[in-house]
Symmetry: C2
Subunit: 390 residues, 2 copies
């Protein structure tokens, strides 16, 4: 069916026109299309998937920028389209909005062969994907991520969900999309702060298991942020990295936990900030979390302090925070951070699990990490002291 789909208007522009990354998950396999303009194919692709109607879930910010365009592409392809708009921001990732979105999808008479399309950042993708997972016990969905963070992370891999008062993403489902359209042209309207925040997740893939990609980031980070063809390369490489890890471990019973590098510290920061974007956004928390994970690894004698310094240096050069003290309006406190970590979902049988590193590109899952060491490390970080290795 792809023969009937026109190439994007700017397929001949300089740089890599487009790439397709396959997420290999047996009967749940799907493609991620990456390139400038690929969202113009939303209608043709949805029709090719056999849908007759689409519930387009978006937020009020993205609706203004891209909502009508995507809707027009869907209607041109002969699909009935109902738009469901939620308020922008993390506050929409909760029970009340989930109920509203599910009811709106049902009201739009989406049937089993039809599609939910998530047009937005991580909040919209996680929320709409979860709604798609549970409406009629599962309808298919397509991700059209509009932030760098969503393009390289949350739209790939099938984790969907909402937040609870007890923590982030604690209620959800594994529900793989049928297709991801990562249109890098949509990032042109993204605020610089959001772009930088998403870049933290790009850097993460180098830090997990790909030292050469981290070195590439050090050389090309400015071009990725500025919007050259390096941006498409960074998105495609990140998607390939994530797809490979997800294909090995779809339901996070092993290696997939590596994707949480920087997230144990990061989620704790987000909880302390009460998810207030005036204080931090997710990618900023992850940036600090990555720097902290490497300093904690160095503190435990696992990794060379020079590696931790190199990680922090590149993140800082990219305009990202690397310490607890970097967040105005946050009063980091070791006990509150520890408590926030203990409620994180990576707690197994009461022990703390971290993703630590033996060096750049050499991360590993560390179970049963000693709480006393964490407490001492947090106290020194909160006090702004450079913690000496134990």
């Amino acid at each position: 069916m792809s023969a009937t789909i026109a190439p994007p208007a700017d397929a001949h522009a300089s740089g890599p026109a487009r790439e397709t990354v396959r997420v290999a998950l047996g009967e749940r396999s799907y493609d991620i299309l990456i390139g400038r303009g690929v969202s113009a194919e939303a209608g043709a692709r949805a029709a090719a998937l056999g849908a007759r109607a689409v519930a387009l879930v978006t937020d009020d910010t993205v609706a203004d920028l891209h909502g009508e365009g995507v809707r027009a592409r869907l209607e041109e392809a002969g699909l009935r389209c109902e738009t469901i708009t939620v308020p922008a921001g993390e506050g929409s990732k909760g029970y009340a909005t989930l109920a509203r979105v599910c009811d709106a999808i049902l009201a739009s008479r989406i049937e089993r062969g039809d599609l939910v399309l998530a047009l937005g950042g991580g909040v919209v993708g996680d929320l709409a994907g979860f709604a798609a997972a549970i409406v009629r016990r599962g309808v298919r969905f397509v991700q059209v991520p509009t932030t760098l963070l969503a393009q390289v992370d949350s739209s790939v891999g099938g984790k969907t969900g909402i937040n609870s008062a007890h923590g982030k993403n604690l209620v959800g489902a594994f529900h793989q999309p049928s297709l991801v359209l990562a249109d890098t042209a949509l990032l042109d309207t993204l605020p610089a702060r959001e772009l930088r925040a998403g870049y933290a997740e790009v850097v993460k893939y180098g830090l997990i298991d790909d030292a050469a990609f981290f070195a590439w980031c050090e050389a090309n980070g400015p071009a990725v942020l500025a919007g050259g063809p390096e941006r498409e390369r960074a998105v495609a490489h990140s998607c390939r990295s994530k797809a490979a890890i997800v294909a090995r471990d779809e339901r996070e019973e092993g290696d997939r936990a590596l994707l949480n590098l920087g997230h144990t510290f990061g989620h704790a920061l987000e909880r302390l900030a009460r998810y207030d974007p005036a204080i931090l956004v997710h990618g900023e928390a992850v940036a600090a979390g990555l720097a902290l994970a490497f300093r904690f690894s160095a503190y435990l004698g696992l990794c060379a302090p020079a590696d931790a310094e190199r990680v922090a240096r590149h993140l800082a050069a990219s305009g990202l925070p690397t310490t607890f003290g970097a967040f105005a309006g946050l009063a980091p406190d070791p006990e509150r951070l520890l408590d926030a970590m203990a409620q994180d979902k990576k707690v197994v049988a009461g022990q703390l699990t971290f993703i630590l590193a033996r060096g750049i590109g050499a991360s590993f899952v560390a179970k049963g990490v000693d709480v006393a060491a964490v407490r001492t490390f947090l106290a020194r970080e909160c006090a702004g002291e450079a913690p000496a290795p134990v």
Copy 2:
């Protein structure tokens, strides 16, 4: 591990002491234990599954009757137990109670190896099972059904969910339990009306594909309702029937739809009654739905009118409703019934799907049923006329 589990106290009573039905679903396979007293094994069985803590979800009626007993069995086995009680009744199968149960499970610090235990009827099982499906993207759960309906139907097969304003069970997940303990002694406290309602689902298995079992029901129905050893036999046979169908088609892409025999009419009746138990309960709606499905099959010339009459006769002899007119306080109306059916989740591409029958034990999935025929049939049934075959 079963060697350490004591047999039920009355294992040597007359009749089949206990039966185990295996639901064969690959890595999601599980056992249904059926017999008087099997719920006394809840603690030992949960411990054998590797749990350290159990979130026991129940309703306020069942909590008073059986809550402390099950809790004591769990604690005797060394498990930490947190009881979560919801109001009895269909009203608990909604977004608000789901959110409360999810948060309560999280507050009880249930971890991935732990268990949610559903102690109650279909509402509790569907609600707690759905909460287990989505808390931390899935924790294991055990069903201890306390109604005949839940023992023979809703606790088996992994369908979980809640109702939406748009219809029953429209939001949910497939999430198989790790174990079902169908303790027929728990039915001793069940009101006679609930017992009869559950019996409609027992009869359904004969009508689907097992004419001999329907004949057995005609002979033994009174004994099943009175509580002889025939009751265990009926529960075990029903569970075997359902397990076989679910094993063939876990996610209802084919044969599993046969389990909806009687449910298209039944769900429409429930919607018209606004799920008000003063008017009807689920099994009563199913009883009428079964009689209607056979009369509709006869009306369409698919099945002998004598078969439809025989079905209605046995249901009526069991104290169950068989017509729209049987429900005091309900004003059945063809258009409202049709509208209620059209929102049912078995609508595919705008056409009505029914489960119809060519005779007792010879049901089949009928797609694309003509709406005009449905309308005429409903009009005659609502007017109390015996519809002549077309």
